[in-house]
């Protein structure tokens, strides 16, 4: 048998072995996703007993005149931007800390992952209680520090409600960001840093000139993962604020959910989900683009 024939056979076998996974994935991911795409171009609601009728782009066009969609989009952008910024900042600090060798590092590395392992709805419920104006820890803490006169009604005001969501999300997902960055840090060869030190570079210089640039791929991965997840935030908002007050924390995912399950407006819910997904793709492309430009520099 020639080498070419062997390679062909290997390729065939590989394809065969991949087939079950592909079939399974297309069943559980591609088919439902395609259904949603189709649904977004129909009118499927209570008006005609949930029987779909082709609507072309009219269902999609409804978002243009929908103030609630605009508000949800704004909230989603705000939540994604703030939470990712906070998580990457804190995650970097945490990763640098965990990268050093000290007693109990192994235990600490395990412990910081606990928030990430908790189900979101459980931790969101706990945070809702932390921000409770009367029984909550946040106000108790402020009071003890002598900072608060009146108790703050965190979840009843738009700005503080959004801040509470961002803090809760950061608490949960910073460990995830730290973990990715830590892996990146450990991949930086020690001899490069050592060489820089021998050449007389200070700690800050070493960090800016060597560590940070070499960490860029890890930053990209962490930011992408977090941004996409934050963009689809549903459970944390649903549990902590329900989108309130005045819809000021409603995300696109929550609005789509409400359209489906409360309004039985399946066409419009699909349109919201689709447009949200398209915007998320654009967002992801921008992140990757920016990062790759930095890398070239």
């Amino acid at each position: 048998m020639t080498a070419g024939a062997l390679a062909r056979r290997a390729r065939r076998e590989r394809a065969l072995l991949l087939l079950p996974v592909l079939v399974l994935l297309s069943l559980v991911v591609a088919v439902p996703a395609l259904r949603v795409v189709v649904l977004g171009f129909t009118r499927t609601d209570l008006a005609d007993g949930l029987v779909s009728s082709w609507a072309g782009l009219t269902t999609h066009a409804r978002t243009l005149a929908d103030g609630r969609f605009a508000a949800a989009l704004r909230n989603t952008v705000l939540f994604t931007g703030l939470s990712v910024l906070l998580e990457v900042t804190l995650g970097t600090a945490l990763a640098l800390l965990l990268d050093r060798s000290f007693r109990g590092r192994g235990a600490l590395r395990a412990v910081v992952l606990v928030p990430w392992a908790l189900p979101t709805s459980v931790m969101a419920l706990a945070w809702a209680w932390i921000f409770h104006d009367t029984f909550g820890m946040a106000n108790d803490l402020l009071g003890r520090l002598g900072l608060a006169g009146e108790p703050v009604a965190w979840l009843a005001q738009p700005a503080t409600a959004m801040a509470a969501l961002v803090v809760a999300d950061a608490w949960k997902t910073t460990p995830f960001v730290a973990l990715i960055l830590l892996a990146g840090l450990q991949g930086i060869p020690a001899d490069v840093l050592e060489a820089a030190r021998v050449d007389g570079a200070g700690a800050l210089q070493r960090f800016r000139r060597i560590t940070l640039p070499l960490l860029v791929p890890s930053f990209v991965v962490a930011t992408l993962f977090r941004a996409i997840q934050a963009w689809g935030a549903f459970d944390i908002v649903y549990v902590m604020t329900g989108g309130g007050p005045g819809g000021s924390t409603e995300t696109l995912a929550l609005y789509a959910y409400q359209s489906w399950f409360r309004y039985l407006d399946f066409g419009y819910g699909a349109a919201i989900a689709l447009q949200g997904m398209l915007l998320a793709l654009v967002l992801a492309a921008v992140v990757v683009r920016l990062a790759s430009r930095r890398e070239v520099e």
Binding site: V28, V31, P32, R35, V36, V38, L39, T42, T44, L46, A47, D48, G49, L50, V51, S52, R68, H132, D133, T134, F135, E150, P151, A153, W154, L155, A156, Q157, P158, A161, T241, G242, G243, G244, P245, G246, G247, S248, Q258, W260, F261, R262, Y263, L264, F266, A270
Partner: protein, 422 residues
């Protein structure tokens, strides 16, 4: 299978997994009727299921344990009915779901199985909440009504008569409160259905109305609505009678505060009564109940809530399911369910039942309040209308929009939704 159904079936599979029980009822001989009940009510449904199985050998009721929050069960019920595979035969539904589920074509009409005489056994408002476009889809099982709880001990000590008017409530609350240790008046102000229930009571108390179910006229731009919203804003303003935090409170937050003795007045539902009288409650024996206040002092109309039963159109055993409805809404079943739970029954004769009254003396007081309970409009797009009101009310409460503008915007959006109504 329509596209929507396939998507929802996938979701139903995901969500449905939550409620799965280990034993497989389909392996047992005979017929199994399935229904979703909140986990905390299941122990009280079991006796009903058992007594039904005794009367109908070969038919058993499988009570799926569902989440306690109403909106989660609304989603579960919706996805199960949407999949159309007969996941549930009997549907346990909130008062506001009827129109939507009926408009979607998921429920069986009940008039053929329940004649006029049988229907007359129920409280008329509770029964009417199950009627959509002239057909009956839901039998009432238990009822709820908005009430005003007050600290009888504090009012008596200060020589203040239980207030019947908004002014009286504000005055008494202001005199007896000492915030933040003890607040004057607690209500539900989070962005959810409970806020609508409370606001409608205040609105009716000011002589206004939200949506006329007949003419679909929207009353949110009338001066009465502005006055009602002003009451909410006033009570939460600095120096007011309610904590700013009510803007994020649902029923349980307000109950915990009231039950720990940290409020003078509380607007809530009948379930608070038995809990507040339990051992360990700081206010046991110190609580009184009033109808919700009005401008004039006439007893106000609390918002009607409650849970009922329907038969899923996708059920493979509709005849047996109808029999279970008959059984569950019988006087014996109402007694068996309401006695241990303290819930208010939906049958007229249950309200006069000596055994039930002996167990829950509170029912006697409640009856007057119940007779005047006001339903929410029965609309297929009720959820949209309610969400519009919720959003604009909380926007006004959070200071995002001036009150009149918020109400005008709510009225405008409501008219659009109702104009599209099927």
């Amino acid at each position: 299978m329509t596209p929507s159904r396939a998507g929802a079936a996938a979701l139903a599979l995901l969500l449905g997994g939550i409620g799965c029980r280990s034993e497989d009822p389909s392996r047992l001989p005979g017929i199994t009727l399935r229904m979703l009940v909140p986990a905390n009510e299941r122990p009280f449904w079991l006796p009903l299921a058992e007594s039904f199985a005794r009367s109908y050998p070969g038919v058993r009721i499988d009570l799926e344990e569902g989440p306690v929050p109403t909106d989660l069960r609304e989603s579960l019920t919706t996805s199960a009915l949407l999949s159309g595979d007969g996941a549930f035969d009997v549907v346990y539904l909130d008062v506001t779901w009827t129109a939507k589920l009926a408009a979607a074509g998921w429920l069986l009409p009940l008039e053929d199985a329940f004649g006029e005489e049988e229907r007359d056994a129920f409280l008329p408002q509770a029964l009417a909440a199950g009627v959509f476009r002239g057909r009956l889809y839901r039998l009432p099982f238990r009822t709820d009504v908005g009430l005003l709880y007050y600290r009888a001990d504090l009012l008596a000590a200060a020589g203040i008569a239980p207030p019947r008017t908004f002014a009286g409530l504000e005055d008494a609350a202001r005199r007896l409160q000492s915030p933040p240790g003890r607040w004057g008046f607690l209500w539900q102000g989070a962005q959810y259905e409970g806020l609508v229930c409370f606001f409608l009571e205040v609105l009716r108390g000011h002589g206004g109305s939200w949506i006329d179910p007949e003419t679909l006229a929207v009353g949110l731009e009338e001066p009465e609505a502005a006055a009602a919203l002003d009451f909410l804003l006033r009570s939460r303003a600095p120096g007011g009678i309610s904590p700013e935090g009510v803007g994020a409170y649902k029923e349980e937050e307000t109950r915990h505060l009231f039950q720990s003795g940290r409020a003078v007045f509380l607007r809530s539902w009948p379930y608070v009564w038995s809990l507040s009288q339990r051992e360990g409650s700081a206010v046991a024996g110190k609580v009184g109940v009033l109808p919700v206040p009005t401008l004039s002092g006439a007893p106000g109309a609390g918002t009607l809530g409650g849970w009922g039963l329907a038969v899923a159109r996708s059920s493979r055993h509709p005849r047996e399911a109808l029999e279970f409805l008959r059984h569950a809404t019988s006087l014996e079943s109402q007694r068996a369910f309401c006695e241990p739970t303290g819930f208010a029954p939906a049958r007229k004769d249950a309200w006069r039942d000596p055994a039930l009254l002996a167990a829950n003396p509170f029912l006697a007081d409640l009856e007057r309040v119940h007779a005047s309970a006001a339903p929410r409009p029965v609309l297929a797009r009720y959820a949209q209308a309610s969400d519009i009101l919720q959003r604009h009310l909380t926007a006004a409460l959070a200071g995002l929009a001036p009150p009149r503008e918020a109400l005008a915007a709510a009225a405008r959006e409501t008219r659009i939704v109702l104009g599209e109504a099927p």
